[in-house]
Symmetry: C2
Subunit: 220 residues, 2 copies
């Protein structure tokens, strides 16, 4: 039986959803590791719809699950239907969607709220000591979810002082890392990597994500 | 100076735009080949907007260039502004967008029409004998553009008899190929590969696209 790796998407596009390169590179790394990706997303409207050419907000409403299904070629689940027992590991690609749709860290920083089904699933993973990974800005989401649990995960989002300061304000420990490096918290079974928080090319980001998935598989 | 490879996108999502995995894998292969990707798309409304979870048409209008900019992380050009002299090679990922937005092969088969700026740029490439590549359904677009030019390119879309019959009806020659194989027409400098016309996994599709980009670079 192939190991099943849940991939939590947050829309489709770096400025209002899941970062597309990071998401596809995650699916590729999982396939090459001999595992099966199980894509999922929350069934909720996006916080924003952004024109990615201009950066302007568009007067539209789009659903996170429906847009994320573009990356998954239609094969996606509502995260509300997924239990930790169904899958072996969980991975969060980045993009503003992780900080706008899975939680609202992009707006409210360390005082953000997390989508209830994302919160539930990560807590299930934590309680069952199953491994998780988060790249780009998604480690900030993990910091919020672990806040107040009595554990203080070691995470990286690269080296941005403002973001790492907020991660520490939520009770996690931040460790600087390069785009091709991972930070592995063996005790809490969390792997993190900066991805496009630092990546200057898709090739660099692919190296980091390949390494993240490899470390995640080792924790299984 | 890095070689510049134009990547013609047709939206963002397999059922109404550019196939996202194929597009990202193309950008990755170009970066790993030491070349620079130059993303472009036509500034035109999509033929359809499809809910990728259900397959149903949505009552929305989306612009091909604006949606494609999601895959390009905002770094994209209107194809109308691109000349063959600006770039060294041209590559078309697939997805229904190649057959709905770059031309209307999905609706009108061998009687399809091609977007005028796509037609112009491919003809410039042909006239200057610069290399081009097309994967998935995009070789059907190439067949239409080469129809009546006095040359009969050798192309592959895999082994689908209906589609290959239409490609031959437009005057090209079809050669069956597996997902990890390329067909290289050295005389006309066109590389093609079936990608998700046959691919059962993202890893297989990545192998085919890596090979396509490698063959394209050899033709430079």
């Amino acid at each position: 039986m192939k190991k099943k790796i849940g991939v939590v998407l947050s829309g489709c596009g770096v400025y209002d959803g899941a970062e597309i390169h990071e998401s596809v590179l995650t699916l590729l790394a999982i396939d090459r590791a001999g595992a099966e990706a199980v894509c999922m997303a929350p069934n909720v409207d996006q916080l924003h719809v952004i024109n990615h050419m201009t950066g302007d907000e568009m007067d539209e409403t789009r659903n996170v699950l429906v847009e994320a299904s573009r990356i998954a070629r239609g094969d996606i689940k509502d995260i509300a239907t997924v239990k930790a027992d169904d899958i072996d590991a969980l991975m969060f690609p980045g993009g503003f969607g992780a900080a706008k749709n899975l939680c609202d860290f992009a707006v409210n920083g360390e005082h953000c709220k997390v989508h209830p089904e994302v919160l539930r699933l990560v807590h299930e993973f934590k309680d069952k000591q199953k491994p998780q990974a988060a790249v780009c800005i998604a480690p900030a989401l993990m910091a919020k979810i672990f806040e107040g649990t009595g554990t203080s995960p070691v995470l990286t989002i690269g080296n941005d002082a403002d973001t790492s300061g907020k991660i520490e304000a939520m009770g996690s420990r931040h460790q600087n890392a390069a785009v091709t490096e991972t930070v592995v918290d063996v005790e809490n079974k969390i792997v993190s990597n900066p991805a496009y928080m630092l990546g200057q090319s898709i090739g660099e980001v692919a190296q980091g994500i390949d390494k993240t998935v490899a470390e995640l598989m080792k924790l299984l």
